[in-house]
């Protein structure tokens, strides 16, 4: 279990990581998601011990490790560029950590071969990293990290240097490996799909802070801030004021004049207060029933065909709405057509305005 409490890291006057606290359970796969420059890699490196935190504590399985040098933290880090030792063979790269731990030669050989089998690289053990493909190098980097049986595995954008197809394969491979070894893992990524596909929980970072922590479902379907809503996938973000608060639903009139009905979601609503709502494009239906809680008359501005899906840009009285629907051969509206779209009150996620200005 990794416990981070109030960790702060500055570079000169720039605060890269600001007072971050999080608890990552044993065996959990946790993704730090955020745009570049949000401090996620710095946080990862601070946990690893490359950087020293200026404030806060880092504890692994109950032991404070913040003061320990990088070499004594029992944390394995996979670098974005893999950082394989170019002068050593695949075998020696993987054996490096075990040699540093002064294990007997026989045990080193057994464990390295075991791990190379696990990542399907046994045949390439004698090769140098320079002779391997990107995917193979990635697997060596992974093998080198897990062979030491670390208490915590850190992955810094491990898939960003691979092409799209390989990335999906490696992603599944990493996830399977992590499950099999029950490794507590923290992944840093800016790729939403990557984070969602592998992780049990996601922490969205912004400007050095953890903005929201939750399961992928929570982060995607119940973003707590405009930033999270906008960063995590496409979203229609609508701002307005609360006009009525009912039993289970709240009514918001947007600044452009749309009326939204959203579930209350256990939040504190006051009529007249500013609020905003997230509406995911895929939640907007092209053929809303007559009883849909939300119904908008729109003009089609643009239709984008994506093969298995279609996205539409819709104009609804000054508001642009993005809708997405799976394409299974149905008739599609043409640009310029008038269409009614809608969604249920549960499809809209509404929140009172954040105190923090965006």
């Amino acid at each position: 279990m990794l416990q981070i409490e109030g960790v702060t890291k500055r570079f000169g006057s720039v605060v890269a990581v600001a007072d971050v606290s999080a608890t990552i359970e044993k065996g959990e796969f946790f993704a730090l998601l955020g745009p570049s420059g949000c401090g996620k890699t710095t946080l990862l490196r601070t946990i690893a011990g490359i950087y020293r935190a200026e404030g806060g504590t880092i504890a692994l399985d109950g032991q404070a490790i913040g003061e320990r040098p990088i070499s004594a933290r029992d944390i394995a880090l996979v670098f974005q560029n893999y950082a394989l030792f170019p002068h050593l063979s695949v075998f020696e790269n993987v054996a490096f950590g075990l040699r540093m731990r002064r294990l007997p030669r026989r045990e080193i050989a057994t464990r390295v071969e075991e791990v190379l089998d696990l990542v399907r690289l046994r045949d390439l053990a004698r090769r140098r990293p320079g002779e391997l493909s990107g995917g193979q190098q990635q697997r060596v980097a992974l093998a080198r990290a897990i062979v030491v049986r670390p208490r915590l595995l850190l992955l810094d954008e491990p898939l960003s240097n691979l092409d799209a197809k390989l990335r999906d394969e490696m992603r599944d491979e990493i996830r399977a490996l992590q499950r099999r070894l029950a490794l507590t893992t923290v992944l840093v990524t800016h790729d939403l799909r990557e984070a969602f596909a592998v992780s049990d929980r996601v922490g969205v970072m912004r400007d050095g802070r953890l903005e929201q922590v939750g399961t992928p479902w929570e982060v995607y379907d119940a973003p707590q801030s405009r930033f999270v809503a906008a960063f995590v996938g496409h979203a229609n973000i609508l701002s307005g004021a609360v006009t009525a608060v009912g039993d289970g639903a709240v009514t918001i009139r947007t600044d452009a004049g749309l009326t939204l009905v959203a579930v209350r979601g256990g939040l504190d609503w006051r009529p007249g207060a500013r609020a905003w709502a997230t509406l995911r494009p895929e939640r907007l239906r092209l053929d809303p029933g007559a009883d849909a809680a939300n119904r908008f008359e729109t003009t089609v501005a643009d239709v984008t065909y994506l093969g298995n899906a279609v996205t539409l840009r819709l104009e609804a009285g000054g508001t642009t709405l993005r809708a997405q629907t799976t394409y299974v051969g149905q008739a599609l509206p043409a640009a310029g057509a008038r269409v009614a779209v809608g969604c249920g009150s549960g499809d809209l996620v509404a929140r009172p305005d954040e105190a923090r200005a965006d």
Binding site: G49, P69, S71, F79, F85, F96, M100
Partner: protein, 285 residues
């Protein structure tokens, strides 16, 4: 495409031409001349170009000149080893500085090359001489009785040339150290390596080719050094370049002088050839 490439080849040849001419006129022709001379006999009347002989090469390896060659070789190796050992800490220190500070420090280390050799030797004599700074300080502290002999011997040559030729090792080493991915050191540390292990298992093997290249240049410069050994070595500690100079320009024995030059040239070729082989086998393996 073909004509285009040929055209480019022609232009390149044209650009290289002045260099080829200079090398030919001032380097290859005299060298060829020296080789030819070294195979002629020398008599009271000067070079006898009618007689072809290996006598000069036999003399080049006689105890007198052989000892000079061995001394030159020994001094050069000692200087190269000391320089290589000293360049690592300096290089590691420099790459940790800011870019501006790096440029400044490198300039300081290159400064000896910008100062006239005679001026440098004079400076060293003020420091190393019997009444120089070092001896005065040590005597003042009561560490030594009679002054240490720090110049007019091999020690003087070694000190002078370690200083004078330091940058030939430092510069390639610095370049290799700055090109080293910092992630590699962090990766090693992350896997449990301490500073010593990181140096021995990552930094050293990855910068060794640069060190060897620098060491090779340094060694060749040491073998051929003339003024510094002449001024700091004194009359009892002569190196081959100085002896060859005396034979050529004082005794005017060009055949023997040519033979000495050719032998020195061949000795220097050996490490170059070895380095080439090593480079090829590393590249292949």
């Amino acid at each position: 495409m073909r004509t285009d490439e040929q055209g480019r080849g022609g232009r390149v040849a044209l650009l290289v031409l002045p260099l080829v001419a200079v090398l030919l006129a001032f380097y290859l022709l005299p060298l060829g001349r020296a080789i030819v001379n070294s195979l002629h006999a020398f008599g009271p009347a000067g070079i006898d170009s009618t007689v072809w002989t290996l006598e000069n090469y036999r003399r080049a390896f006689d105890p007198h000149y052989g000892a000079v060659f061995l001394r030159t070789l020994r001094i050069s190796v000692i200087i190269t080893v000391i320089t290589c050992l000293a360049a690592y800490p300096v290089g590691l220190w420099i790459v940790r500085l800011s870019a501006r500070a790096q440029a400044l420090v490198l300039l300081v280390y290159m400064a000896p090359w910008l100062v006239n050799v005679v001026v440098k030797a004079l400076g060293w004599s003020l420091i190393l001489g019997g009444a120089g700074i070092i001896n005065r300080v040590l005597k003042g502290l009561g560490v030594i009785g009679p002054p240490l002999q720090l110049m007019f011997n091999e020690t003087g040559i070694v000190i002078g040339l370690v200083h004078g030729h330091f940058m030939f090792v430092l510069l390639p080493l610095w370049a290799a150290l700055s090109a080293l991915d910092p992630n590699l050191r962090w990766a090693a540390a992350n896997l449990g390596a301490g500073p010593r292990q990181i140096f021995l298992r990552v930094t050293l093997p990855l910068t060794l080719p640069a060190l060897l290249a620098g060491g090779l240049i340094n060694f060749i410069m040491n073998m051929g050094a003339f003024a510094t050994p002449a001024l700091l070595g004194g009359s009892r500690t002569r190196v081959i370049s100085y002896v060859a100079y005396e034979v050529n320009l004082v005794a005017l024995n060009w055949p023997l002088g040519g033979a000495l030059a050719v032998v020195l040239f061949l000795i220097v070729l050996v490490p170059i050839w070895l380095a080439g082989r090593l480079g090829r086998s590393r590249g292949a393996g």
